[in-house]
């Protein structure tokens, strides 16, 4: 894979293997994630996509019998030499099912990252942050009159955008998204995709998706995983028009998987 200048690479994966007990789920993964680009990870169910992105923010190691070998470098530093809480502030995550905190209102959900870490913001600061962040995710106009209501009253798409707002409120550099549109209708999906394209100006985004057309629509780079191995990694245009590997061709044309 072509490696551009180092200052354009946010995450470097070197010889990464991951295990749940004795079962190996990732094998010798090598890839570079470019800054302020969208990288999609595709592959059949069980190929290791979610495991891979959970390695980036060290969520993988929260499972007691999970372990890995190899390295992941974040801005040149091994992530295992960094404080995991600080790392997860810089590498945020959005999950498949929208999960706004049900005990907090919309306003507090946005600044939950600060509250839960004991950071006290002045009211003017938090008001500003909430408005700015909700505008960034194109949710402000829809919720500005109900900021202190429960997020459960929002639609699925709105809740997911609220979760994205919660993630970016703490100013991460990387956003991991694990099938963020899987539970959403097509129109909500389209809005989240538009949001991702707008956010990539400021954030590096890595998205796991089963929807190949989504990967083709929004990503700059695509990684194809199969049975824990990285089969092919490259620019999305090249992967979807002229893949180099036969397995990639078979998967993206739907001839298997």
């Amino acid at each position: 894979m072509e490696n551009k200048e180092n200052n354009e690479i946010t995450l470097q994966v070197r010889d990464l293997s991951a295990y749940y007990g004795k079962q190996q789920v990732l094998k010798d993964i090598e890839m570079d994630i470019q800054k302020r680009r969208i990288t999609a990870i595709i592959g059949p169910s069980g190929c290791g996509k979610t495991t891979l992105i959970r390695c980036f923010n060290r969520l993988f190691e929260t499972i007691s019998y999970a372990h890995l070998s190899g390295k992941i470098l974040y801005s040149g530093k091994d992530i295992h030499s960094l404080d995991p809480t600080k790392l997860r502030k810089e590498i945020g995550m959005v999950f498949q099912r929208p999960n706004p905190f049900p005990t907090m209102n919309i306003y507090n959900n946005v600044i939950a990252g600060y509250k839960l870490n004991g950071v006290r913001l002045k009211k003017s600061e938090s008001d500003q942050k909430v408005e700015k962040t909700l505008k960034k995710v194109a949710l402000w106009d829809e919720v500005k009159d109900k900021l202190f209501q429960s997020p459960q009253e929002l639609s699925g798409g709105q809740q997911q955008r609220l979760c994205i707002a919660r993630t970016i409120a703490v100013s991460p550099r990387v956003i991991l998204m694990d099938e963020p549109c899987a539970a959403l209708d097509p129109i909500s999906t389209s809005r989240i995709e538009e949001l991702m394209l707008a956010l990539k100006k400021d954030y590096t985004i890595i998205i796991v998706t089963h929807n190949m057309q989504q990967a083709a629509r929004i990503s700059d780079f695509t990684a194809f995983l199969m049975l824990g191995e990285l089969v092919e990694f490259g620019e999305t245009d090249q992967i979807f028009t002229s893949p180099k590997k036969k397995k990639t061709e078979e998967y993206i044309t739907g001839r298997f998987g």
Partner: protein, 243 residues
């Protein structure tokens, strides 16, 4: 659903082959009109042209439907792009064949002994290029397609020689200006037939290998866009002439 798509793609290929067969027949008819002065063939050429034009529209619409329904990728996508461009070139080949056929009255004035050997070679070579480019598509033969591209240089050379010889012999020979002009125009049509065949061959290479070999500078880009298979660099070729 994928099985249906495979069936649709096979049907599409058959439609393209049918159109190519009709166009080849038109070119053969035009060749005979020029060489054998057989006026009975002119009407038949016009009849086939109608069919070819309808086929182009039908195939194009089918391609659009397939793209809308299946959002194809990789080889499937390249096949559809190749077909859309190929049928455009086939339709132009039909037009060129008609251009030759409709000048029958003028060709009648050229005595056989004045028909230069170069024109005969030009006719033979460009006709062969059309045939080979279509065979490359049918047989999925990228190497054959590249060989067609290489033949275009010889077609261009023959056409240029035709012009040079005409100017050189204009005073000395008993070819009058009008007759000579008709021979040059015939030569030009065949040179354009060679260009269309080359364009088809280029699309076949793109379909099979994912490599764009149009224009000589595309050779440098081959390394970056390579599908991973070993390929030889294409010969330098000129841009296709105006159709």
């Amino acid at each position: 659903m994928k099985i249906q798509f495979d069936i649709d793609l096979e049907n599409l290929k058959h439609m393209v082959i049918d159109m190519a067969t009709a166009v080849e027949e038109m070119i053969n008819l035009s060749n005979r009109i020029l060489m054998e002065k057989d006026s009975s063939l002119v009407e038949k050429a016009y009849q086939i042209e109608d069919t070819v034009n309808h086929m182009e529209v039908e195939i194009e619409q089918f391609c659009v439907t397939l793209i809308a329904r299946h959002q194809p990728t990789a080889t499937d996508l390249r096949l559809l792009v190749c077909v859309i461009k190929m049928i455009n070139q086939l339709e132009r080949l039909g037009d060129l064949a008609i251009n030759i056929a409709k000048r029958y009255n003028e060709f009648m004035k050229i005595p056989d002994y004045l028909l230069p050997r170069d024109i005969r070679f030009l006719v033979m070579l460009s006709t062969q290029m059309v045939k080979e480019s279509i065979m490359a598509f049918i047989r999925l033969d990228a190497e054959k397609a590249r060989q067609v591209c290489a033949m275009d240089d010889e077609v261009d050379r023959l056409n240029k020689k035709l012009w040079k010889d005409f100017i050189k012999n204009m005073i000395d020979s008993d070819i009058d200006l009008e007759t000579g002009f008709e021979m040059l125009m015939a030569g030009k049509q065949y040179e354009r037939i060679g260009d269309c065949a080359t364009n088809i061959a280029e699309e076949v290479v793109y379909y099979l290998k994912g490599q764009n070999i149009k224009h000589h500078f595309a050779a440098e880009e081959l390394e970056e866009s390579s599908s991973g298979n070993e390929v030889s660099l294409p010969d330098e070729k000129k841009s296709p002439g105006e159709m």
